[in-house]
Protein backbone atom coordinates (compact mmCIF):
# COMPACT_ATOMS: atom_id res chain seq x y z
CA UNK A 1 0.00 0.00 0.00
CA UNK A 2 2.76 2.27 0.99
CA UNK A 3 4.57 1.40 -2.19
CA UNK A 4 1.56 2.23 -4.24
CA UNK A 5 1.13 5.61 -2.64
CA UNK A 6 4.78 6.33 -3.12
CA UNK A 7 4.58 5.41 -6.79
CA UNK A 8 1.53 7.59 -7.27
CA UNK A 9 3.22 10.41 -5.38
CA UNK A 10 6.47 10.25 -7.32
CA UNK A 11 4.80 9.98 -10.69
CA UNK A 12 2.41 12.77 -9.77
CA UNK A 13 5.29 14.98 -8.67
CA UNK A 14 7.19 14.31 -11.89
CA UNK A 15 4.07 15.09 -13.88
CA UNK A 16 3.38 18.30 -12.02
CA UNK A 17 7.01 19.40 -12.30
CA UNK A 18 7.07 18.68 -16.02
CA UNK A 19 3.83 20.53 -16.53
CA UNK A 20 5.14 23.59 -14.72
CA UNK A 21 8.34 23.64 -16.77
CA UNK A 22 6.40 23.19 -19.99
CA UNK A 23 4.03 25.97 -19.02
CA UNK A 24 6.82 28.47 -18.41
CA UNK A 25 8.68 27.46 -21.54
CA UNK A 26 5.44 27.72 -23.46
CA UNK A 27 4.92 31.22 -22.12
CA UNK A 28 8.45 32.30 -22.87
CA UNK A 29 8.55 31.07 -26.43
CA UNK A 30 4.99 31.92 -27.29
CA UNK A 31 4.59 33.25 -30.80
CA UNK A 32 1.74 35.59 -31.36
CA UNK A 33 -0.42 34.58 -34.24
CA UNK A 34 -3.28 36.60 -35.49
CA UNK A 35 -6.38 34.55 -34.60
CA UNK A 36 -7.88 35.39 -37.97
CA UNK A 37 -5.19 33.55 -39.88
CA UNK A 38 -6.53 30.14 -39.07
CA UNK A 39 -10.10 30.64 -40.26
CA UNK A 40 -8.82 32.34 -43.40
CA UNK A 41 -6.54 29.42 -44.10
CA UNK A 42 -9.40 27.05 -43.58
CA UNK A 43 -11.43 28.91 -46.15
CA UNK A 44 -8.65 28.45 -48.72
CA UNK A 45 -8.43 25.32 -50.87
CA UNK A 46 -5.28 24.13 -49.09
CA UNK A 47 -3.48 22.73 -52.13
CA UNK A 48 -0.40 24.95 -51.65
CA UNK A 49 -0.08 25.33 -55.40
CA UNK A 50 1.49 28.77 -55.25
CA UNK A 51 -0.83 30.18 -57.91
CA UNK A 52 -1.45 33.27 -55.79
CA UNK A 53 2.22 34.18 -55.88
CA UNK A 54 2.84 33.11 -52.29
CA UNK A 55 4.68 29.95 -51.24
CA UNK A 56 1.55 28.29 -49.91
CA UNK A 57 -1.93 28.77 -48.50
CA UNK A 58 -0.59 29.73 -45.08
CA UNK A 59 1.52 32.57 -46.45
CA UNK A 60 -1.40 33.73 -48.54
CA UNK A 61 -3.65 33.71 -45.48
CA UNK A 62 -1.12 35.81 -43.57
CA UNK A 63 -0.90 38.20 -46.49
CA UNK A 64 -4.68 38.50 -46.62
CA UNK A 65 -4.87 39.27 -42.90
CA UNK A 66 -2.09 41.82 -43.05
CA UNK A 67 -3.15 43.53 -46.25
CA UNK A 68 -5.07 46.79 -46.17
CA UNK A 69 -7.38 45.68 -48.90
CA UNK A 70 -7.77 42.46 -50.84
CA UNK A 71 -7.38 44.18 -54.18
CA UNK A 72 -4.10 42.64 -55.23
CA UNK A 73 -4.77 39.28 -53.65
CA UNK A 74 -6.52 36.51 -55.45
CA UNK A 75 -6.71 32.79 -55.00
CA UNK A 76 -6.97 31.51 -58.54
CA UNK A 77 -7.92 28.04 -57.43
CA UNK A 78 -10.84 28.92 -55.21
CA UNK A 79 -11.89 31.85 -57.35
CA UNK A 80 -14.49 34.43 -56.45
CA UNK A 81 -16.32 32.24 -53.92
CA UNK A 82 -13.26 31.62 -51.82
CA UNK A 83 -12.22 35.25 -51.94
CA UNK A 84 -15.70 36.29 -50.90
CA UNK A 85 -15.61 34.04 -47.86
CA UNK A 86 -12.11 35.28 -46.99
CA UNK A 87 -13.39 38.83 -47.29
CA UNK A 88 -16.34 38.12 -45.02
CA UNK A 89 -14.05 36.63 -42.35
CA UNK A 90 -11.82 39.68 -42.45
CA UNK A 91 -14.57 42.24 -42.93
CA UNK A 92 -12.98 43.47 -46.13
CA UNK A 93 -14.30 43.54 -49.64
CA UNK A 94 -12.98 41.25 -52.32
CA UNK A 95 -12.45 42.41 -55.85
CA UNK A 96 -13.85 40.08 -58.38
CA UNK A 97 -11.12 38.79 -60.60
CA UNK A 98 -12.24 37.20 -63.81
CA UNK A 99 -11.71 33.46 -63.82
CA UNK A 100 -8.72 32.51 -65.84
CA UNK A 101 -7.56 29.36 -67.48
CA UNK A 102 -4.35 28.07 -69.05
CA UNK A 103 -4.25 28.22 -72.80
CA UNK A 104 -1.74 26.40 -75.01
CA UNK A 105 -0.67 28.67 -77.82
CA UNK A 106 0.74 26.13 -80.20
CA UNK A 107 -1.10 23.92 -82.62
CA UNK A 108 1.96 22.41 -84.23
CA UNK A 109 0.77 18.85 -84.26
CA UNK A 110 2.71 16.22 -86.16
CA UNK A 111 0.28 16.71 -89.00
CA UNK A 112 0.58 20.49 -89.22
CA UNK A 113 4.25 20.79 -88.43
CA UNK A 114 6.43 18.09 -89.98
CA UNK A 115 9.12 16.81 -87.68
CA UNK A 116 12.56 17.17 -89.19
CA UNK A 117 14.70 15.44 -86.59
CA UNK A 118 14.38 13.18 -83.62
CA UNK A 119 15.05 14.27 -80.07
CA UNK A 120 16.77 11.60 -78.00
CA UNK A 121 17.73 13.30 -74.75
CA UNK A 122 16.10 13.17 -71.37
CA UNK A 123 12.32 13.62 -71.54
CA UNK A 124 12.31 17.16 -70.29
CA UNK A 125 11.45 20.33 -72.22
CA UNK A 126 13.93 22.47 -70.31
CA UNK A 127 16.79 20.16 -71.25
CA UNK A 128 15.68 20.12 -74.89
CA UNK A 129 15.45 23.91 -74.82
CA UNK A 130 19.08 24.17 -73.73
CA UNK A 131 20.03 22.06 -76.70
CA UNK A 132 18.08 23.46 -79.61
CA UNK A 133 14.89 24.95 -80.94
CA UNK A 134 12.96 21.77 -81.42
CA UNK A 135 12.37 18.86 -83.72
CA UNK A 136 10.69 20.86 -86.46
CA UNK A 137 11.72 23.95 -88.39
CA UNK A 138 9.74 26.09 -85.97
CA UNK A 139 11.92 27.03 -83.05
CA UNK A 140 9.05 28.58 -81.10
CA UNK A 141 6.76 25.59 -80.91
CA UNK A 142 5.97 23.01 -78.31
CA UNK A 143 8.47 20.22 -77.63
CA UNK A 144 5.74 17.96 -76.36
CA UNK A 145 7.94 16.48 -73.63
CA UNK A 146 5.49 17.32 -70.90
CA UNK A 147 7.14 19.67 -68.40
CA UNK A 148 3.71 21.28 -67.98
CA UNK A 149 2.13 17.91 -67.32
CA UNK A 150 4.76 17.00 -64.74
CA UNK A 151 4.39 20.26 -62.86
CA UNK A 152 0.57 20.45 -62.77
CA UNK A 153 -0.72 19.79 -59.24
CA UNK A 154 -4.27 19.28 -60.49
CA UNK A 155 -3.71 16.72 -63.24
CA UNK A 156 -5.29 19.25 -65.58
CA UNK A 157 -2.88 19.34 -68.51
CA UNK A 158 -1.82 16.35 -70.57
CA UNK A 159 0.28 15.94 -73.66
CA UNK A 160 -1.87 14.27 -76.28
CA UNK A 161 0.12 11.22 -77.37
CA UNK A 162 -1.08 11.57 -80.95
CA UNK A 163 -0.66 15.26 -81.59
CA UNK A 164 2.18 15.74 -79.06
CA UNK A 165 0.59 18.99 -77.98
CA UNK A 166 -0.63 19.50 -74.40
CA UNK A 167 -4.34 19.85 -73.80
CA UNK A 168 -5.91 21.63 -70.85
CA UNK A 169 -8.75 20.04 -68.93
CA UNK A 170 -11.14 22.94 -68.36
CA UNK A 171 -12.83 21.26 -65.43
CA UNK A 172 -9.63 20.78 -63.52
CA UNK A 173 -7.48 23.78 -64.46
CA UNK A 174 -7.33 26.38 -61.71
CA UNK A 175 -4.98 28.82 -63.42
CA UNK A 176 -2.30 28.32 -60.79
CA UNK A 177 0.37 29.47 -63.25
CA UNK A 178 2.72 26.55 -62.68
CA UNK A 179 2.71 25.33 -66.26
CA UNK A 180 3.19 28.88 -67.51
CA UNK A 181 6.42 29.11 -65.54
CA UNK A 182 7.53 25.61 -66.44
CA UNK A 183 7.19 25.98 -70.20
CA UNK A 184 10.59 27.01 -71.57
CA UNK A 185 8.97 28.39 -74.71
CA UNK A 186 6.35 30.53 -72.97
CA UNK A 187 3.65 28.83 -74.99
CA UNK A 188 1.16 28.59 -72.15
CA UNK A 189 -0.68 31.71 -71.10
CA UNK A 190 -3.36 32.40 -68.53
CA UNK A 191 -6.31 33.98 -70.25
CA UNK A 192 -9.80 34.88 -69.18
CA UNK A 193 -11.93 31.83 -69.26
CA UNK A 194 -14.72 33.87 -70.80
CA UNK A 195 -18.48 33.51 -70.55
CA UNK A 196 -19.47 29.88 -70.99
CA UNK A 197 -15.79 29.11 -71.38
CA UNK A 198 -15.82 30.83 -74.75
CA UNK A 199 -12.54 32.36 -75.74
CA UNK A 200 -10.50 33.34 -78.77
CA UNK A 201 -6.75 33.33 -78.99
CA UNK A 202 -3.88 33.04 -81.44
CA UNK A 203 -2.60 29.51 -81.17
CA UNK A 204 0.93 30.20 -82.32
CA UNK A 205 4.12 31.72 -80.98
CA UNK A 206 6.20 31.75 -84.16
CA UNK A 207 8.04 35.03 -84.64
CA UNK A 208 9.72 34.08 -87.89
CA UNK A 209 8.81 35.90 -91.07
CA UNK A 210 5.59 34.73 -92.66
CA UNK A 211 7.12 32.57 -95.35
CA UNK A 212 9.45 30.75 -93.02
CA UNK A 213 6.78 30.29 -90.41
CA UNK A 214 4.37 28.89 -92.96
CA UNK A 215 7.00 26.55 -94.35
CA UNK A 216 7.64 25.17 -90.89
CA UNK A 217 4.01 24.77 -89.89
CA UNK A 218 0.67 24.80 -91.70
CA UNK A 219 -1.12 26.62 -88.94
CA UNK A 220 1.50 29.18 -88.01
CA UNK A 221 0.62 32.82 -87.57
CA UNK A 222 2.35 34.59 -90.44
CA UNK A 223 1.78 38.06 -89.07
CA UNK A 224 -0.22 39.17 -92.13
CA UNK A 225 -2.28 41.63 -90.12
CA UNK A 226 -5.69 40.75 -91.54
CA UNK A 227 -7.08 40.07 -88.11
CA UNK A 228 -5.70 43.35 -86.82
CA UNK A 229 -7.55 45.23 -89.55
CA UNK A 230 -10.84 43.44 -89.09
CA UNK A 231 -10.96 43.76 -85.31
CA UNK A 232 -13.46 46.47 -84.31
CA UNK A 233 -12.12 46.78 -80.77
CA UNK A 234 -8.38 47.19 -81.41
CA UNK A 235 -7.79 44.08 -79.37
CA UNK A 236 -5.31 42.57 -81.81
CA UNK A 237 -1.73 43.75 -82.14
CA UNK A 238 1.04 42.42 -84.31
CA UNK A 239 4.61 42.37 -83.04
CA UNK A 240 7.55 40.33 -84.35
CA UNK A 241 5.41 38.77 -87.09
CA UNK A 242 2.98 37.46 -84.54
CA UNK A 243 -0.57 38.48 -83.71
CA UNK A 244 -1.73 38.72 -80.14
CA UNK A 245 -5.27 39.13 -78.90
CA UNK A 246 -5.65 41.17 -75.74
CA UNK A 247 -8.30 39.38 -73.70
CA UNK A 248 -9.21 42.57 -71.85
CA UNK A 249 -10.27 44.24 -75.07
CA UNK A 250 -11.59 41.27 -76.99
CA UNK A 251 -15.37 41.10 -77.04
CA UNK A 252 -15.53 37.67 -78.66
CA UNK A 253 -17.10 38.94 -81.88
CA UNK A 254 -15.16 36.30 -83.82
CA UNK A 255 -14.59 38.49 -86.85
CA UNK A 256 -10.89 37.66 -86.80
CA UNK A 257 -11.40 33.91 -86.94
CA UNK A 258 -12.53 33.48 -90.54
CA UNK A 259 -10.07 36.01 -91.99
CA UNK A 260 -7.00 34.20 -90.72
CA UNK A 261 -5.41 32.57 -93.77
CA UNK A 262 -3.67 29.87 -91.74
CA UNK A 263 -6.43 29.14 -89.22
CA UNK A 264 -4.11 30.04 -86.39
CA UNK A 265 -6.81 31.91 -84.48
CA UNK A 266 -8.74 29.54 -82.30
CA UNK A 267 -12.27 29.84 -81.01
CA UNK A 268 -13.21 27.56 -78.18
CA UNK A 269 -16.62 26.40 -77.02
CA UNK A 270 -18.63 28.53 -79.41
CA UNK A 271 -21.67 26.92 -80.94
CA UNK A 272 -20.92 25.50 -84.38
CA UNK A 273 -21.22 28.14 -87.13
CA UNK A 274 -24.69 28.27 -88.51
CA UNK A 275 -25.37 27.82 -92.15
CA UNK A 276 -26.45 31.03 -93.72
CA UNK A 277 -29.73 29.71 -95.11
CA UNK A 278 -32.74 31.20 -93.40
CA UNK A 279 -32.20 34.52 -91.73
CA UNK A 280 -34.89 34.06 -89.18
CA UNK A 281 -33.66 35.70 -86.03
CA UNK A 282 -30.62 37.56 -84.87
CA UNK A 283 -27.69 35.28 -84.42
CA UNK A 284 -26.36 37.15 -81.46
CA UNK A 285 -26.68 34.60 -78.73
CA UNK A 286 -24.15 35.88 -76.31
CA UNK A 287 -24.81 39.05 -74.45
Amino acid sequence: MNMMLMAVGILGAIGAGGATILYFIGQKFKVYEDPRIEPVQEALPGVNCGGCGFPGCNSFAIACVEAESLEELNCPVGGADTMASVASILGKTATKAAKKIAVVRCNGTCEHRPRKNEYDGATNCAIAAQLYGGDSDCSFGCYGLGDCEAVCPFDAIHVNPVTLIPEVDEEKCTACNKCVVACPKNIIELRKQGPKSRRIFVSCMNQDKGGEARKACDVACIGCGKCEKVCPFEAITIADNLAYIDDDKCRLCRKCVPVCPTNSIWELNFPPPRKKEPKVESADVEA
Binding site: N117, E118, A122
Partner: protein, 321 residues
Amino acid sequence: MENKLVVSPSPHVHSGDTIAKNMYGVLIALVPAFLVSLYVFGLNALILTVASVLFCVITEYVIQRYMLKRIPTIADGSAIITGILLAFNVPSNLPLWILAIGAIAAIGIGKMSFGGLGNNIFNPALLGRVFLLISFPTQMTSWPLPSTMAPVDGATAATVLENMKYNPEALSSVSDMFFGLESGSIGEMSAMALLLGLIYMLWKRIITWHIPVSILVTVGLFTASIYLFDPSPANNPLIHLLSGGLLLGAIFMATDYATSPLSKNGMLIYGVGIGVVTVCIRLWGAYPEGVSFAILLMNALTPLINMYVKPKRFGEVVKNV
Protein backbone atom coordinates in the same frame (compact mmCIF):
# COMPACT_ATOMS: atom_id res chain seq x y z
CA MET B 1 17.25 13.74 -96.28
CA GLU B 2 15.18 10.64 -95.77
CA ASN B 3 16.17 9.53 -92.31
CA LYS B 4 15.80 12.10 -89.59
CA LEU B 5 18.90 13.15 -87.68
CA VAL B 6 18.94 12.24 -84.03
CA VAL B 7 19.56 15.16 -81.72
CA SER B 8 20.54 14.71 -78.09
CA PRO B 9 22.66 16.48 -75.53
CA SER B 10 26.30 15.41 -75.15
CA PRO B 11 28.00 13.00 -74.60
CA HIS B 12 27.35 11.13 -77.83
CA VAL B 13 29.31 8.02 -76.99
CA HIS B 14 28.85 5.52 -74.22
CA SER B 15 31.23 3.15 -72.54
CA GLY B 16 28.94 0.24 -73.38
CA ASP B 17 28.79 -0.70 -69.73
CA THR B 18 25.43 -2.14 -68.75
CA ILE B 19 23.82 -3.50 -65.63
CA ALA B 20 23.74 -6.95 -67.21
CA LYS B 21 27.47 -6.85 -68.01
CA ASN B 22 28.30 -6.16 -64.38
CA MET B 23 25.89 -8.75 -63.10
CA TYR B 24 27.12 -11.50 -65.42
CA GLY B 25 30.66 -10.53 -64.45
CA VAL B 26 29.76 -11.28 -60.86
CA LEU B 27 28.27 -14.57 -61.98
CA ILE B 28 31.53 -15.54 -63.67
CA ALA B 29 33.38 -14.59 -60.50
CA LEU B 30 31.13 -16.96 -58.57
CA VAL B 31 32.00 -19.94 -60.77
CA PRO B 32 35.13 -21.12 -58.88
CA ALA B 33 33.27 -21.12 -55.57
CA PHE B 34 30.42 -23.01 -57.22
CA LEU B 35 32.80 -25.63 -58.60
CA VAL B 36 34.31 -26.15 -55.17
CA SER B 37 30.86 -26.55 -53.66
CA LEU B 38 30.01 -29.14 -56.34
CA TYR B 39 33.16 -31.03 -55.47
CA VAL B 40 32.50 -30.86 -51.74
CA PHE B 41 28.75 -31.34 -51.53
CA GLY B 42 28.08 -33.07 -54.79
CA LEU B 43 24.66 -33.05 -56.40
CA ASN B 44 23.02 -31.35 -53.42
CA ALA B 45 24.84 -28.12 -54.09
CA LEU B 46 23.78 -28.16 -57.73
CA ILE B 47 20.14 -28.84 -56.90
CA LEU B 48 19.98 -26.17 -54.22
CA THR B 49 21.69 -23.53 -56.34
CA VAL B 50 19.57 -24.15 -59.41
CA ALA B 51 16.40 -24.26 -57.34
CA SER B 52 17.28 -21.07 -55.52
CA VAL B 53 17.98 -19.24 -58.79
CA LEU B 54 14.71 -20.47 -60.24
CA PHE B 55 12.73 -19.42 -57.18
CA CYS B 56 14.29 -15.96 -57.19
CA VAL B 57 13.84 -15.37 -60.91
CA ILE B 58 10.26 -16.60 -60.88
CA THR B 59 9.41 -14.44 -57.86
CA GLU B 60 10.87 -11.37 -59.53
CA TYR B 61 9.10 -12.11 -62.80
CA VAL B 62 5.75 -12.63 -61.17
CA ILE B 63 5.99 -9.49 -59.06
CA GLN B 64 7.12 -7.31 -61.94
CA ARG B 65 4.77 -8.73 -64.50
CA TYR B 66 1.58 -9.21 -62.52
CA MET B 67 1.80 -6.99 -59.47
CA LEU B 68 3.75 -3.96 -60.66
CA LYS B 69 2.70 -4.37 -64.31
CA ARG B 70 6.13 -3.43 -65.53
CA ILE B 71 8.32 -4.96 -68.14
CA PRO B 72 10.22 -7.68 -66.27
CA THR B 73 13.95 -7.10 -66.03
CA ILE B 74 14.99 -10.61 -65.07
CA ALA B 75 17.45 -10.66 -67.96
CA ASP B 76 19.76 -8.24 -66.19
CA GLY B 77 21.04 -11.08 -64.03
CA SER B 78 20.54 -9.48 -60.65
CA ALA B 79 17.92 -12.01 -59.53
CA ILE B 80 20.21 -14.83 -60.61
CA ILE B 81 22.97 -13.46 -58.40
CA THR B 82 20.58 -13.14 -55.49
CA GLY B 83 19.55 -16.75 -56.04
CA ILE B 84 23.10 -18.05 -56.14
CA LEU B 85 24.19 -16.03 -53.13
CA LEU B 86 21.17 -17.20 -51.17
CA ALA B 87 21.98 -20.83 -52.00
CA PHE B 88 25.61 -20.24 -51.09
CA ASN B 89 24.50 -19.12 -47.65
CA VAL B 90 22.50 -22.16 -46.62
CA PRO B 91 23.50 -25.65 -45.52
CA SER B 92 23.59 -28.19 -48.32
CA ASN B 93 20.82 -30.32 -46.82
CA LEU B 94 18.24 -27.59 -46.54
CA PRO B 95 14.76 -28.69 -47.69
CA LEU B 96 13.74 -27.02 -50.92
CA TRP B 97 10.52 -25.60 -49.53
CA ILE B 98 12.47 -23.63 -46.92
CA LEU B 99 14.73 -22.39 -49.66
CA ALA B 100 11.68 -21.28 -51.65
CA ILE B 101 10.45 -19.26 -48.68
CA GLY B 102 13.88 -17.71 -48.43
CA ALA B 103 13.86 -16.79 -52.11
CA ILE B 104 10.44 -15.21 -51.88
CA ALA B 105 11.52 -13.23 -48.83
CA ALA B 106 14.76 -12.19 -50.51
CA ILE B 107 13.22 -10.93 -53.74
CA GLY B 108 9.75 -10.02 -52.54
CA ILE B 109 10.57 -8.28 -49.28
CA GLY B 110 14.24 -7.50 -49.75
CA LYS B 111 14.14 -6.15 -53.26
CA MET B 112 10.81 -5.58 -54.97
CA SER B 113 9.02 -4.00 -52.04
CA PHE B 114 11.54 -1.17 -52.22
CA GLY B 115 11.03 -0.71 -55.94
CA GLY B 116 13.39 -3.22 -57.49
CA LEU B 117 17.04 -3.24 -58.37
CA GLY B 118 18.89 -0.19 -57.11
CA ASN B 119 16.25 0.96 -54.67
CA ASN B 120 16.61 -1.76 -52.07
CA ILE B 121 18.18 -0.83 -48.76
CA PHE B 122 19.28 -4.32 -47.73
CA ASN B 123 21.12 -6.95 -49.67
CA PRO B 124 18.26 -9.25 -50.78
CA ALA B 125 20.18 -12.52 -50.48
CA LEU B 126 21.31 -11.70 -46.97
CA LEU B 127 17.86 -10.61 -46.00
CA GLY B 128 16.54 -13.93 -47.24
CA ARG B 129 19.21 -15.78 -45.35
CA VAL B 130 18.58 -14.00 -42.08
CA PHE B 131 14.85 -14.49 -42.56
CA LEU B 132 15.47 -18.22 -42.77
CA LEU B 133 18.00 -18.24 -39.94
CA ILE B 134 15.50 -16.71 -37.58
CA SER B 135 12.50 -18.68 -38.84
CA PHE B 136 14.16 -22.09 -39.16
CA PRO B 137 17.13 -22.04 -36.78
CA THR B 138 17.54 -25.81 -36.59
CA GLN B 139 17.54 -26.49 -40.30
CA MET B 140 19.73 -23.51 -40.98
CA THR B 141 22.47 -24.55 -38.57
CA SER B 142 22.86 -28.27 -39.08
CA TRP B 143 25.83 -28.53 -41.34
CA PRO B 144 26.33 -31.78 -43.19
CA LEU B 145 29.90 -32.89 -43.46
CA PRO B 146 31.31 -32.54 -46.93
CA SER B 147 30.79 -35.75 -48.91
CA THR B 148 34.54 -35.97 -49.36
CA MET B 149 35.01 -36.24 -45.61
CA ALA B 150 31.86 -37.79 -44.26
CA PRO B 151 32.09 -41.36 -43.00
CA VAL B 152 28.42 -41.92 -43.80
CA ASP B 153 26.10 -39.84 -45.90
CA GLY B 154 24.08 -37.35 -43.95
CA ALA B 155 26.48 -36.98 -41.06
CA THR B 156 26.57 -33.45 -39.76
CA ALA B 157 29.24 -31.49 -37.98
CA ALA B 158 29.79 -28.14 -36.39
CA THR B 159 31.26 -25.32 -38.44
CA VAL B 160 34.61 -23.87 -37.67
CA LEU B 161 33.08 -20.91 -35.97
CA GLU B 162 30.79 -23.02 -33.85
CA ASN B 163 33.81 -25.00 -32.81
CA MET B 164 35.63 -21.82 -32.09
CA LYS B 165 32.93 -20.68 -29.81
CA TYR B 166 32.00 -23.89 -28.09
CA ASN B 167 34.71 -26.41 -28.76
CA PRO B 168 38.08 -24.88 -29.60
CA GLU B 169 39.89 -28.24 -29.65
CA ALA B 170 38.08 -29.43 -32.76
CA LEU B 171 39.26 -26.59 -35.01
CA SER B 172 40.17 -27.40 -38.60
CA SER B 173 43.57 -26.56 -39.94
CA VAL B 174 44.13 -23.30 -41.78
CA SER B 175 45.06 -25.03 -45.01
CA ASP B 176 41.90 -27.13 -44.96
CA MET B 177 39.95 -23.96 -44.66
CA PHE B 178 41.83 -22.30 -47.48
CA PHE B 179 41.02 -25.10 -49.89
CA GLY B 180 37.55 -25.76 -48.58
CA LEU B 181 37.58 -28.98 -46.58
CA GLU B 182 35.44 -28.10 -43.61
CA SER B 183 31.73 -28.02 -43.01
CA GLY B 184 29.57 -24.99 -43.57
CA SER B 185 27.26 -23.31 -46.06
CA ILE B 186 27.46 -24.22 -49.73
CA GLY B 187 29.38 -21.24 -50.97
CA GLU B 188 31.70 -20.41 -48.13
CA MET B 189 33.91 -23.47 -48.49
CA SER B 190 37.07 -22.47 -50.22
CA ALA B 191 38.81 -19.20 -49.53
CA MET B 192 40.93 -19.74 -52.59
CA ALA B 193 37.94 -19.98 -54.92
CA LEU B 194 36.38 -16.86 -53.45
CA LEU B 195 39.63 -14.94 -53.77
CA LEU B 196 39.84 -16.00 -57.42
CA GLY B 197 36.43 -14.43 -57.87
CA LEU B 198 37.65 -11.24 -56.21
CA ILE B 199 40.63 -11.04 -58.50
CA TYR B 200 38.39 -11.49 -61.53
CA MET B 201 36.01 -8.75 -60.44
CA LEU B 202 38.85 -6.35 -59.71
CA TRP B 203 40.41 -7.12 -63.08
CA LYS B 204 37.11 -6.49 -64.87
CA ARG B 205 36.58 -3.37 -62.75
CA ILE B 206 33.20 -4.57 -61.60
CA ILE B 207 34.08 -3.55 -58.05
CA THR B 208 36.89 -1.58 -56.49
CA TRP B 209 39.17 -2.95 -53.81
CA HIS B 210 37.89 -0.63 -51.10
CA ILE B 211 35.11 -2.66 -49.53
CA PRO B 212 36.59 -6.20 -49.43
CA VAL B 213 40.06 -5.05 -48.42
CA SER B 214 38.81 -2.76 -45.68
CA ILE B 215 36.63 -5.52 -44.25
CA LEU B 216 39.39 -8.13 -44.31
CA VAL B 217 42.04 -5.77 -42.93
CA THR B 218 39.73 -4.66 -40.13
CA VAL B 219 38.85 -8.22 -39.15
CA GLY B 220 42.51 -9.24 -39.35
CA LEU B 221 43.81 -6.35 -37.29
CA PHE B 222 41.03 -6.46 -34.75
CA THR B 223 41.38 -10.18 -34.04
CA ALA B 224 45.17 -9.97 -34.17
CA SER B 225 45.22 -7.30 -31.49
CA ILE B 226 42.96 -9.46 -29.32
CA TYR B 227 45.13 -12.51 -30.08
CA LEU B 228 48.14 -10.64 -28.72
CA PHE B 229 46.50 -10.34 -25.31
CA ASP B 230 44.75 -13.70 -25.30
CA PRO B 231 46.42 -16.13 -27.71
CA SER B 232 43.70 -18.77 -27.64
CA PRO B 233 42.86 -20.46 -30.96
CA ALA B 234 39.44 -18.83 -30.80
CA ASN B 235 41.13 -15.53 -31.45
CA ASN B 236 43.44 -16.66 -34.23
CA PRO B 237 43.13 -13.97 -36.91
CA LEU B 238 43.92 -16.37 -39.74
CA ILE B 239 41.05 -18.64 -38.78
CA HIS B 240 38.77 -15.66 -38.46
CA LEU B 241 39.69 -14.45 -41.91
CA LEU B 242 39.23 -17.79 -43.60
CA SER B 243 36.26 -19.13 -41.73
CA GLY B 244 32.55 -18.80 -42.13
CA GLY B 245 31.06 -16.45 -44.65
CA LEU B 246 33.56 -13.66 -44.13
CA LEU B 247 35.19 -13.91 -47.54
CA LEU B 248 31.92 -14.66 -49.27
CA GLY B 249 30.35 -11.70 -47.51
CA ALA B 250 33.24 -9.31 -48.01
CA ILE B 251 33.70 -10.13 -51.67
CA PHE B 252 30.20 -10.77 -52.96
CA MET B 253 27.62 -9.45 -50.54
CA ALA B 254 29.06 -6.31 -49.01
CA THR B 255 30.03 -5.10 -52.47
CA ASP B 256 26.45 -5.20 -53.73
CA TYR B 257 26.07 -1.92 -55.63
CA ALA B 258 22.72 -0.80 -54.38
CA THR B 259 23.40 -1.29 -50.70
CA SER B 260 26.97 -0.02 -50.42
CA PRO B 261 28.12 3.62 -50.29
CA LEU B 262 28.87 5.57 -53.45
CA SER B 263 32.18 7.23 -52.66
CA LYS B 264 35.48 5.52 -51.96
CA ASN B 265 35.84 7.07 -48.52
CA GLY B 266 32.33 5.95 -47.72
CA MET B 267 33.19 2.44 -48.85
CA LEU B 268 36.15 2.36 -46.48
CA ILE B 269 34.03 3.44 -43.53
CA TYR B 270 31.41 0.89 -44.50
CA GLY B 271 34.03 -1.87 -44.73
CA VAL B 272 35.59 -1.03 -41.41
CA GLY B 273 32.14 -0.99 -39.84
CA ILE B 274 31.33 -4.44 -41.19
CA GLY B 275 34.65 -5.78 -39.94
CA VAL B 276 34.21 -4.44 -36.43
CA VAL B 277 30.61 -5.62 -36.07
CA THR B 278 31.48 -9.06 -37.44
CA VAL B 279 34.27 -9.62 -34.93
CA CYS B 280 32.15 -8.30 -32.07
CA ILE B 281 29.33 -10.72 -32.88
CA ARG B 282 31.71 -13.61 -33.38
CA LEU B 283 33.60 -13.11 -30.13
CA TRP B 284 30.96 -11.78 -27.80
CA GLY B 285 27.59 -12.24 -29.45
CA ALA B 286 25.04 -14.99 -29.23
CA TYR B 287 25.55 -16.23 -32.79
CA PRO B 288 28.73 -17.95 -33.87
CA GLU B 289 28.70 -16.08 -37.18
CA GLY B 290 28.08 -12.37 -37.62
CA VAL B 291 28.90 -11.42 -41.19
CA SER B 292 25.28 -11.35 -42.36
CA PHE B 293 24.15 -9.19 -39.48
CA ALA B 294 27.16 -6.93 -39.83
CA ILE B 295 26.49 -6.35 -43.51
CA LEU B 296 22.77 -5.78 -42.99
CA LEU B 297 23.53 -3.33 -40.21
CA MET B 298 25.94 -1.38 -42.36
CA ASN B 299 23.45 -1.54 -45.28
CA ALA B 300 21.09 0.37 -43.05
CA LEU B 301 23.79 2.95 -42.40
CA THR B 302 24.65 3.37 -46.09
CA PRO B 303 22.25 6.26 -46.78
CA LEU B 304 23.72 8.06 -43.80
CA ILE B 305 27.26 7.44 -45.01
CA ASN B 306 26.29 8.69 -48.46
CA MET B 307 24.90 11.82 -46.92
CA TYR B 308 27.90 12.70 -44.82
CA VAL B 309 30.88 11.24 -46.63
CA LYS B 310 31.46 13.16 -49.82
CA PRO B 311 33.90 12.18 -52.51
CA LYS B 312 37.16 14.08 -52.57
CA ARG B 313 36.29 17.28 -54.37
CA PHE B 314 38.55 18.91 -56.89
CA GLY B 315 40.45 21.78 -55.32
CA GLU B 316 39.20 21.16 -51.81
CA VAL B 317 41.34 18.49 -50.26
CA VAL B 318 44.34 17.90 -52.45
CA LYS B 319 47.37 19.93 -51.47
CA ASN B 320 48.82 22.21 -54.06
CA VAL B 321 52.51 22.11 -54.82
